[in-house]
């Protein structure tokens, strides 16, 4: 506890970096996953290859991916870009299927009604399909957010500073306090992100809160 009070500023900095490293890939990941998920939904023959290949990406161990990134991108080993891109890959891996499922959850008669009224193409996607897929996409996003928070800490092994550094630091000095503080901060961060997404999705989907059958 004394250690924590003494290192408040440092823990705060690490927390902010950690949050950014987790959230930025999340946002880029959603933006990329929406068109990919749409492709998987729209062209049935694309679904299996897309979902399987992006799913496979998720099985690459994170440490390996962090180490591979500089080789692929030509970045320095300490460049945070490695983490951002690696986590974007994971986010996309998780969300392509979710987006495709979300779009598939839109009731057919709603789509037919939109078409019958002359709402088509891009307009229909953004005004009907996507808003109705939000609840499913948000659920996937919550999983991705929590997963990102935990994977970011692995990057400490490469020397990229964030909350994970508290683990490596505490472990190296055989000192428990930073480890405990790191774990608690990670959990809090994950909880807060989860809550933000939950509240955001509720705000975007007022219709799901009302009525008997949502």
């Amino acid at each position: 506890m004394k250690w924590f009070v003494g290192h408040l500023g440092q823990v705060g900095d690490l927390l902010v970096t950690h949050a950014l490293l987790a959230v930025i890939p999340l946002i880029i990941g959603v933006v990329l996953a929406i068109p990919l998920g749409w492709l998987a939904h729209r062209f049935r023959w694309l679904r299996t290859p897309l979902v399987v290949s992006t799913g496979l990406l998720y099985t690459i161990p994170s440490l390996a991916l962090f180490i591979l990134m500089p080789l692929v991108l030509g970045t320095g080993i300490l460049d945070p870009l490695n983490v951002v891109i690696a986590l974007t890959v994971y986010t996309v891996a998780l969300l392509v299927r979710t987006v495709a499922d979300g779009l598939a959850s839109v009731p057919d008669e709603v789509i037919q009604a939109a078409t019958a009224m002359g709402v088509g193409g891009v307009r229909r996607f953004f005004t009907v399909d996507l808003p109705l897929a939000v609840p499913v996409i948000a659920a996937g996003l919550r999983v991705a957010a929590v997963s990102n928070v935990s994977i970011v800490s692995v990057a400490a092994l490469l020397g990229i500073a964030q909350l994970g550094s508290l683990f490596t630091d505490g472990f190296a000095r055989n000192f428990l306090d930073p480890i405990v503080v790191g774990i608690v901060a990670c959990m809090l961060l994950a909880l807060v992100l989860d809550l933000v997404i939950l509240v955001g999705s509720r705000l975007l989907t007022p219709w799901t809160r009302s009525g008997a059958a949502a």
Binding site: V110, Q112, A113, A114, A116, M117, G118, V128
Partner: protein
């Protein structure tokens, strides 16, 4: 006018949903497409607004081949009520209804105010405007579907089983309101149903389709009942065709007998005196509207609501032969109650006299 000429639709996989269908749907009238499940009703409807392209044949709307029109523009000019409602779950009632006006580029305020008018027109309380569809009853949802299709005042309405998802009482109410609305609006309506009674009630003309999408018969409802083209149509029309056909014949000058009455609340002695030995006595309210029958000899006190027998139906003078006959048959006294347009008692009629009138009717022949 919508004209289908030799329209055929074969789905990939070889299902012939519609085959060689030629059909003219006159402007300002209700054409009902009716037939068993899978006979191609929805397919036909969707070929009209090009949600489905015909395999062969042409469809013209007011003399223009729809194949030459932009599908989006075509669809915005045709209200469509979809089987099962198809309301947007994420939009309020008002915004659902305002969909097409907004697409047409009206400003938001005007679109909303027109949507509010439509709500009133279809009998939706204005308090429902801000609700989401899942906060409405089935009947209310159907009304929103109709209001949404009407919103931009399209000359053509395509309606796919718009009233099928509600219970019979609500359905009947919606049908009556629909007819009242159509009398006011005079749209060209193509109405799909698998319910023959609905078809007969609503249609100016009824097209009966067979599985495979061929036209079995096209006729006005009365003619359909009187003269089914073949066994399939006759079977599909079902029983009691003669009786149901009477709904389309006005009862002209039935011999109407005056009927002695008591006002609700009268005492038993007055009732017995008025009845003068008849078994059943008609009870009316202060405005002379019939309420039901009583048996004066069974009365222990005054004529109250609890003592009333309400089994009898009431027919309007100048209404159909069916209504007059039913009034007589359903009355415990066998005297059918007739009222004027304001619901006031005119007199009673006997089944016998209605039958005499029916026999006097010239045999209807297909036109």
């Amino acid at each position: 006018m919508i004209a289908l000429r030799e329209v055929t639709k074969v789905y990939p996989g070889g299902t012939a949903a519609v085959e060689g269908l030629s059909l003219v749907m006159p402007t300002g009238q209700i054409t009902v497409l009716v037939g068993p499940s899978g006979c191609g009703k929805t397919t036909t409807l969707r070929m009209i607004n090009r949600m489905i392209e015909p395999t062969s044949g042409t469809i013209e709307v007011d003399g223009r081949d729809t194949a030459s029109l932009n599908p989006g523009v075509l669809r915005r000019g045709m209200g469509y009520v979809i089987q099962g409602g198809g309301l947007f779950p994420h939009r309020t009632v008002l915004d659902n209804i305002a969909t097409v006006p907004l697409l047409l580029g009206w400003d938001r305020r005007r679109a909303r105010s027109v949507a509010a008018e439509q709500m009133e027109r279809v009998g939706l309380a204005s308090g429902l405007a801000k609700r989401y569809p899942n906060e409405l009853s089935g009947g209310q949802q159907q009304r929103v579907g109709v209001a949404r299709a009407l919103a931009a005042d399209p000359p053509v309405m395509l309606m796919d089983e718009p009233f099928s998802a509600v219970d019979p009482v609500v359905r009947e109410q919606l049908q009556d309101e629909f007819l009242r609305l159509q009398a006011e609006l005079g749209k060209t309506i193509v109405f799909v149903t698998h319910d023959i009674d609905e078809a007969i009630k609503l249609g100016d003309q009824v097209a009966v389709l067979r599985v495979g999408g061929a036209l079995a018969q096209l006729a006005a409802p009365a003619e359909l009942l009187a003269d089914p083209a073949d066994d399939f149509v006759a079977d599909f029309l079902g029983r009691d065709r003669g009786y149901r056909g009477l709904a389309f014949t006005a009862a002209p000058d039935l011999p109407i007998a005056p009927e002695p009455t008591v006002v609700l609340g009268a005492d038993g002695d007055t009732a017995r005196l008025t009845a003068a030995g008849r078994g059943w006595l008609l009870v009316v309210d202060q405005a002379d509207a019939p309420l039901g029958w009583v048996q004066p000899t069974q009365l222990s006190g005054a004529v109250t609501r609890e003592t009333l027998h309400r089994g009898g139906t009431v027919a309007t003078v100048g209404g159909s032969l069916r209504a007059a006959l039913d009034a007589a048959l359903s009355s415990p006294s066998r005297r059918g109650v007739l009222v004027d347009d304001d619901g006031r008692l005119v007199g009673t009629v006997r089944a016998q006299d209605v039958l005499t009138e029916i026999e006097r009717e010239p045999q209807r022949s297909p036109s």
